[in-house]
Structure formats: structure tokens, C-alpha cells
């Protein structure tokens, strides 16, 4: 036990399963956990949709809410939940010195404006002029701010007064992995004492689906658990809207303010597999080898995306260690992109703290009895980058 051990002292999670740690724990430890799905609105694609959220609970000013679209609201909301959960919200001194690392993609475009441009482009040859015409007159001036990647962090600063350092990482799941890895490294090295780290992803927008489908990654047709999509139509990924923010703190800082932690992050490992020569399962195996796994049955919260190659490779690597009790949580939440790794860590920390493993999420997963002393969280990018973290009792 060291002063600069990295502890998780606050968790804020939102997904199709609900808001907060209790709602997720109830949903995921039910007798037969089941996902919340919407196969209509974005057919032929299924998504895990956001529930109705009362934004006022975490973003009290209407003016602030109006400056954001759903992606930023979701992230700002989940950040508020995490700060509340950590007992930090409203503590001016703590928030003013709190560092922040956010993993972000981009915000929502105006679908109607874009559609009007596309329709007009079919009959006009002067596309450049058309764009200028439409964009200068139809775009809401502040929409840009709702789209800017670093403005999620900006909004968290404005709404929750978190004003230490502010960094935004971009790069799909890898950004989420690196955000946690960097935050943890800073705390361990004494460069930070407390950090807010996380991400949100809002999938219920055509452009968010387009980003996956340009690479043919989306699953089509009937929904199946994440490990059972190889034969399904399409690329295997079923996306979800959700967010996960964690408050990380050094042991010293947490103890000084008398705060109990969920769990510790023992170590985070990440890698960049070339994804060309079928070496991914070996890379995943190597990542696991680099972590101080405790030996014995180990709860493994997998952020597998469903993307065929990456999911098969990950499962092969995980199955080569029979002591791992795998839980592919995207079966329940959908793929959360930048939020995938923070979410995996949150679920891992919850299980360690509540001293119980989640039941299997599908027929390929096996039960795990007893109180987990540790849990492994993985996120193997659907297209690139890989990460894993070992969570242990605080």
C-alpha cells in the first residue's frame, strides 16, 4: 500500500440500463440480465438507447443545457454523477484543483440542414457554392461548440467548476484507454492528486452509425449477445449510448479527506497491434501477461465490441486462460466507443466493492462464485488499439 496508489473514489455511469451505480448493479445482477434495445428507429441497425434523463439534475441552468447537444449533455451529466458519488461536487477547493482527462469523439451535426444540402446537391453542379449558401444561413452559430471535441471538457468545467488541468484525447476506444492510463500514471508519479476521467458516446444519430458503417462494422438483423454474432449479417458491432466518468484519487488524498474507495487500479496496459497479420490474440495474451493477475478465478469485464476479427481474437486469448470468468458487457449496454474502457473499469470496481461477480450475460459465459478480490477490465478496439486494467480491492 503506497501513498500514490490509484483509487477509484467516484463512479458516474449512464446507459440504456439506467443511471448510476445502483441501477446498473440491479440490472446486471438480476436473475436474467437483459439488454434494453431499439431495433426500430435505426433499422436495420439495433441500438441500446438512452433512457429519459432529467438533465436538470446535473445541469441546473437551462442556458447551459441549450449550449449542448445530447453527447455533451450526457457526458456533463455523468461527470456530475461521478463528482456527487465521490463527495466532491460543490467542494470549490477540490474541484478547482481537480485535473480532468476526457476521451471524446465529436458532436452531433444538424441532420436536417445536411439532408437539405444533400438533396440540393443532386440537381446542382456548383457544390462549393451550394455549401456556402446553406451553411452560412442554416447553421445555428453555437452548434459548432456543441460539436467540438474539447468542449465536453469545457462544459464540465463551466457546469461543475472542475478547473485544474483539462485534456481531451481523441481516438475511439484507445482514447478512453489512454485517458485512464495517463490519469493513473500522473497520480502514481505525484503529478496529480485527483483526476476526473471518462467519456460519453451518443449513438442515436446517423453520423455516429455512419462512422462505423464506412468500415462495414455494424451488425444487421436480429440482435444477439456480443459473443454470438460471427454468423450474423454485417460487421458485428451493436452500439449503445452511454457514459462513464471516474474520480481517481491517490490513496493519500482519499485518506486525508476520509473517503472510502470502490477499488484500486493496480495497473493499466495498452498496445497497438498492427491488425494485419492475425497477431491480435497474441497481443491480447501479452497484455494480460503484463498485468499482475492474482491467479485463481478472475472476473473479467470485457469491452468486446462485437466486431468479428477483434472479438474472436479477444475471446480466444481470454479462453486460453480458463480461470477467467468473462462478461462481455456490450451485450447489455452496446458498444460505447470512447466510454468503453472507463465503463469496463466502473463495472469491475463495482463488483470488487460489492463483493459479488455479475452472473453470465449469455450461454458462453460461466458463473463465478464468491467475492472477487480483483477484476480484469479489457477494451480491444473494434478497429485499432487495445487496453486492459487490473482492478483490486482498495
Amino acid at each position: 500500500m503506497a501513498d500514490n496508489d490509484v483509487l477509484i473514489t467516484g463512479i458516474g455511469i449512464v446507459s440504456s440500463l439506467g443511471e448510476g451505480t445502483d441501477a446498473h448493479w440491479q440490472a446486471l445482477t438480476a436473475d436474467a440480465p437483459s439488454p434494453v434495445l431499439d431495433s426500430e428507429r435505426f433499422s436495420p441497425y439495433t441500438v441500446h438507447p438512452l433512457p429519459e434523463i432529467d438533465w436538470n439534475l446535473q445541469i441546473p441552468r437551462r442556458g447551459d443545457q441549450r449550449q449542448m447537444e445530447t453527447w455533451q449533455r450526457l457526458g456533463t451529466y455523468a461527470a456530475g454523477l461521478a463528482l456527487d458519488d465521490a463527495g466532491v461536487k460543490g467542494d470549490e477547493a477540490l474541484c478547482a484543483t481537480m485535473d480532468m482527462v476526457v476521451a471524446a469523439g465529436g458532436g452531433e451535426r444538424d441532420v436536417e440542414v445536411d439532408q437539405a444540402i444533400l438533396d440540393a446537391s443532386l440537381t446542382r453542379k456548383d457544390h462549393g457554392v451550394l455549401l456556402n449558401e446553406k451553411l452560412t444561413t442554416e447553421l445555428r452559430p453555437t452548434l459548432f461548440l456543441a460539436q467540438l471535441s474539447n468542449l465536453l471538457a469545457g462544459n464540465i468545467s463551466i457546469v461543475h467548476k472542475v478547473t485544474g488541468s483539462s485534456r481531451t484525447f481523441m481516438g475511439e476506444e484507445g482514447a478512453g484507454v489512454c485517458a485512464v492510463e495517463t490519469a493513473a500514471a500522473r497520480i502514481r508519479a505525484g503529478q496529480s492528486s485527483h483526476v476526473l476521467v471518462g467519456a460519453s458516446f451518443q449513438t442515436e444519430h446517423p453520423d455516429m452509425l455512419l462512422a462505423y458503417e464506412l468500415g462495414g462494422y455494424l451488425n444487421r438483423g436480429a440482435w444477439k449477445p456480443v459473443w454470438l454474432r460471427e454468423k450474423a449479417e454485417g460487421g458485428g458491432v451493436v452500439t449503445g449510448s452511454g457514459a462513464a466518468f471516474l474520480v481517481l484519487e491517490s490513496r493519500r488524498h482519499a485518506e486525508t479527506r476520509g473517503r472510502e474507495a470502490y477499488a484500486a487500479i493496480d495497473k493499466v496496459a495498452s498496445s497497438r497491434d498492427r491488425r494485419k497479420d492475425g497477431s491480435l490474440d497474441r497481443t491480447v495474451a501479452e497484455i494480460m501477461q503484463s498485468l499482475p493477475l492474482p491467479g485463481g478465478p478472475l472476473l473479467t469485464i470485457s469491452g468486446a465490441s462485437g466486431a468479428h476479427a477483434a472479438t474472436v481474437a479477444e475471446r480466444a486469448a481470454l479462453d486460453s486462460r480458463p480461470e477467467l470468468a468473462v462478461r462481455g458487457f456490450s451485450t447489455m449496454t452496446g458498444h460505447l466507443k470512447e466510454a468503453q474502457f472507463p465503463f469496463a473499469l466502473a463495472l469491475a470496481a463495482l463488483a470488487v466493492h460489492r463483493k459479488r461477480a455479475y452472473p453470465p450475460f449469455d450461454e458462453t459465459e460461466k458463473p463465478l462464485e464468491g467475492a472477487p478480490e480483483a477484476a480484469l477490465a479489457t477494451t480491444i478496439g473494434y478497429n485499432c488499439f487495445e487496453g486492459a486494467g487490473l482492478v483490486t480491492r482498495a
Binding site: S121, N132, N150, S157, E172, E213
Partner: protein, 422 residues
């Protein structure tokens, strides 16, 4: 000889620099133009300017990928800067041996591609047409161009950087943040060297329109070279621009061990987020003041030791006023006599690349003993009493520089650089 600073941390130096801006390709060309007071701002030729209030920019139009979309251009800009920097550093071009931190703009599907997808689709209906066309087209290049991870991934592959490359954004402070991340990694002992890059090739029509709608850009289109006028009375907004810079950051110990030439020292980095407004800074300047003071403290230097300030100096009515206020608070009575100039007067605002480009220029300022001017300073703002090194370069011994970057969304980052390791 000591290779740790007064706080016991590894001293971080710079052993390689590369850059591209509208002034030209490479350090030499850029430095010559910058010190000659030449402007890279010119009339936009990349797309039609009908209906646009802003018809000028500091775009990089002379590269192969200049008309191939934001991802391709940002990639080429980064690539060129990295090659130059690594060559100067004298380390392997394929096995860099350290992490990569890339400050880059957010990515979106190019409008040209979006329109082409739609035209090629069967249904010609709503968003489903686009997705169906995307699936049918199965264009890996296009998919890659729309992923945030792509550019950094390609650079990591080509140059053999270590680990997962990090792509980051703190808006206008991004380039400085990339440097800060590299410094912190070396200080943690994770690596001997790090590659910090800032690149931005995202000056599309939509980008221009977005900033215009926020009233951020100057519409003084004629003549283009005079449009960017930081600290002047009639300044009216910034000029959108493109560019890149790469810095090889290295521990002093590692640089000495291999006999590398030391181009300067990254003494300290400081940051502070603003909680006031999404585009405007707190009127009392306190976050900027805090960022400056944090950088000085991190560097272990006092305000009195700063010989020159490389300003954020965007030429917006607000930034220049706020920057003056904040710096005057920190530097007190000395302020009117500290030379402070804005590279943006000549290269415009290079957004994600700015912090890195301007850090590079700061290092060159110290090395060459020449302070680049703030050009277009014809009508001084009487409320801003600063020695902006007006219009003409100045020879000067500069040993310590403060470089500011204040970003949209309230992200403020300052760097303190030194000429020699102490």
C-alpha cells in the same frame, strides 16, 4: 553534470524541430520569412468564396494533399514536420523509441465525400441512403479518413513510436498540450524521448463558416497580408490558418549521452481551465494568470527572468485585451518593457498546431538571438501598452521565453522555455 532540475526531475530538452506553415516548408524557410516580417495570409483558392464574409486565410496550399481533404492534409503536414524533426535529432526514422503525442483537429467526413456517397446511393432518401452507400462502397480509405485514431496510428507505424499514440485536443492550446504531455512522460521516467506534434489542415469552407458564425474571424479581406493585426486598435478577429510543427523532446541525460545538439530546454508547463464561458474568458483574466504562474512555478523561474513572451496574440478584440491584462498582472511594472510578439500576425491562427509552431519559433528566437516582429502594427491600441516588437525584427539575447496558448472552451496552457540547461 547535473541532468535533473531543481525539483529533482529529469531536465527535458529539445533535440529536433520540424515545421510547415503558409510561409513555407521547413524551419529555414519559415524562419527567414518570419524574421523578414512576411505574411503567409492570402486569398482563398481552395473553394469558392461566394457568400462568404471571410475570403482570406493562412492555408497551406502548396502540398500534394492540400486539396484532398482535412485528414489527408493534416497527415501530410504532420508527416513532413516529423521527418524534419527526427532528422535534426539524429535518431532513427523508423524506430523512434518513445511515445507520440499528436495535437490534431477533430475529424468529420468531408463534404465532397458525403455528397458523392449520397449521389451513389440507391434510395436517394434520408440517412439510410448514406449508410447503405457506405456499406456498398466499402472504402477503407474513406473509413480511415473518418476515424480520430488514423493519423496518429499511421505516424506511429511509420516512425516506430512506442505504445498507443495519443491524439489530443484542447482547441487553440492543443499544440502546447502535446508538448506538455511529452514533458510529463519523460519526467515520470517512462521514456527518454517523446515526439510532440501539432498539425492542422482542417481549413474547409465549413470550418471557416463555423468560426465566422461565432464572430471570431476578421473580415478585413483586403489586402490579405494586413488582416492579422494583434494588439492593434482596429484588430477585428483572427485569420484561420493551417500548419504543423514537431518537436523531439528528450531527457538531457539521454541527449548528452548520445552527443545530440540541444536546441533549447522545456523548463516548465502550466495550465488552468476557465469556467466562465465557452468562448469568452473570465473578465478578470484569472485563469490565464493562473496558467502563466503555474508555468513559471513549474519551470522554477520568477517572472523577472522572462526575456520575451511569445503571445497567443490572435488579433481578436477580446484575446489581446485579456492577454494584456493577465500578463500585466503577472509581470507588473516590467510589462511595458518586456518584448512580446505574435507569430499569428504572419501565419494566422493555426489552431491545433499553434502551440507547437509557436513553441518552435520561441526556441529559434533564443537560438538565433532574433525576436520576430508583430507585423501590421500601424495603429496601436492605446489601452494596450506593450512592446510588441512592431513590424521589424529585433536582435536580442533571449535566454528564457514564455509562450501562451489560450483555447476555446477555456483551456489555457503556457510553456516556459530556456536556451541552455542550467
Amino acid at each position: 553534470m547535473k541532468t535533473t532540475d531543481k525539483f529533482g526531475r529529469p531536465v527535458v530538452v529539445v533535440t529536433g524541430i520540424g515545421m510547415v506553415t503558409s510561409l513555407g516548408r521547413g524551419k529555414a524557410e519559415n524562419w527567414a520569412a518570419l524574421t523578414a516580417g512576411r505574411s503567409g495570409i492570402h486569398a482563398i483558392t481552395r473553394f469558392p468564396v461566394d457568400h462568404l464574409a471571410v475570403r482570406i486565410s493562412g492555408m497551406v496550399d502548396f502540398l500534394d494533399s492540400s486539396d484532398k481533404g482535412a485528414t489527408a492534409l493534416t497527415h501530410e503536414l504532420a508527416d513532413l514536420a516529423v521527418t524534419e524533426a527526427i532528422e535534426e535529432a539524429g535518431v532513427s526514422q523508423s524506430d523512434f523509441g518513445g511515445p507520440l503525442f499528436l495535437a490534431a483537429p477533430p475529424v468529420e467526413i468531408d463534404w465532397r465525400e458525403r455528397i458523392a456517397l449520397y449521389a451513389s446511393s440507391n434510395s436517394k432518401g434520408d440517412w439510410r441512403s448514406l449508410l447503405e452507400a457506405a456499406r456498398t462502397r466499402n472504402d477503407r480509405e474513406l473509413f480511415d479518413a473518418c476515424q480520430f485514431a488514423t493519423i496518429a496510428d499511421r505516424l506511429a507505424e511509420k516512425y516506430g513510436t512506442r505504445g498507443v499514440p495519443i491524439t489530443l485536443s484542447t482547441a487553440c492550446a492543443s499544440g502546447a498540450t502535446a508538448i506538455q504531455l511529452g514533458v510529463e512522460a519523460i519526467r515520470r521516467g517512462e521514456c527518454d524521448r517523446a515526439l510532440a506534434v501539432g498539425a492542422d489542415g482542417s481549413a474547409t469552407a465549413e470550418a471557416l463558416i463555423r468560426f465566422t458564425l461565432l464572430s471570431a474571424l476578421t473580415t478585413h479581406n483586403d489586402p490579405p497580408e494586413k488582416a492579422s493585426k494583434p494588439f492593434s486598435k482596429d484588430r477585428a478577429g483572427f485569420v484561420l490558418a493551417e500548419g504543423s510543427a514537431a518537436l523531439v523532446l528528450e531527457s538531457l541525460e539521454s541527449a548528452r549521452a548520445r552527443g545530440a545538439e540541444i536546441l533549447g530546454v522545456m523548463m516548465g508547463c502550466g495550465e488552468k481551465a476557465d469556467d466562465f464561458h465557452r468562448t469568452r474568458s473570465k473578465p478578470d483574466g484569472s485563469p490565464a494568470i493562473a496558467a502563466v504562474e503555474a508555468a513559471l512555478a513549474d519551470a522554477g523561474v520568477s517572472a523577472d527572468e522572462i526575456d520575451y513572451i511569445n503571445a497567443h496574440g490572435t488579433s481578436t478584440p477580446e484575446n489581446d485585451k485579456m492577454e494584456h491584462l493577465s500578463l500585466s498582472t503577472v509581470f507588473g511594472e516590467r510589462m511595458p518593457t518586456i518584448p512580446i510578439s505574435s507569430n499569428k500576425s504572419m501565419i494566422g491562427h493555426t489552431l491545433s498546431a499553434a502551440g507547437a509552431i509557436e513553441a518552435a519559433f520561441s526556441l529559434m528566437t533564443m537560438r538565433e538571438g532574433v525576436i520576430p516582429p508583430t507585423i501590421n502594427y500601424d495603429i496601436p491600441d492605446p489601452a494596450i501598452e506593450l512592446d510588441v516588437v512592431p513590424n521589424v525584427k529585433r536582435e536580442a539575447q533571449v535566454s528564457t521565453v514564455l509562450s501562451n496558448s489560450f483555447g476555446f472552451g477555456g483551456q489555457n496552457t503556457c510553456l516556459v522555455m530556456g536556451r541552455e540547461p542550467v
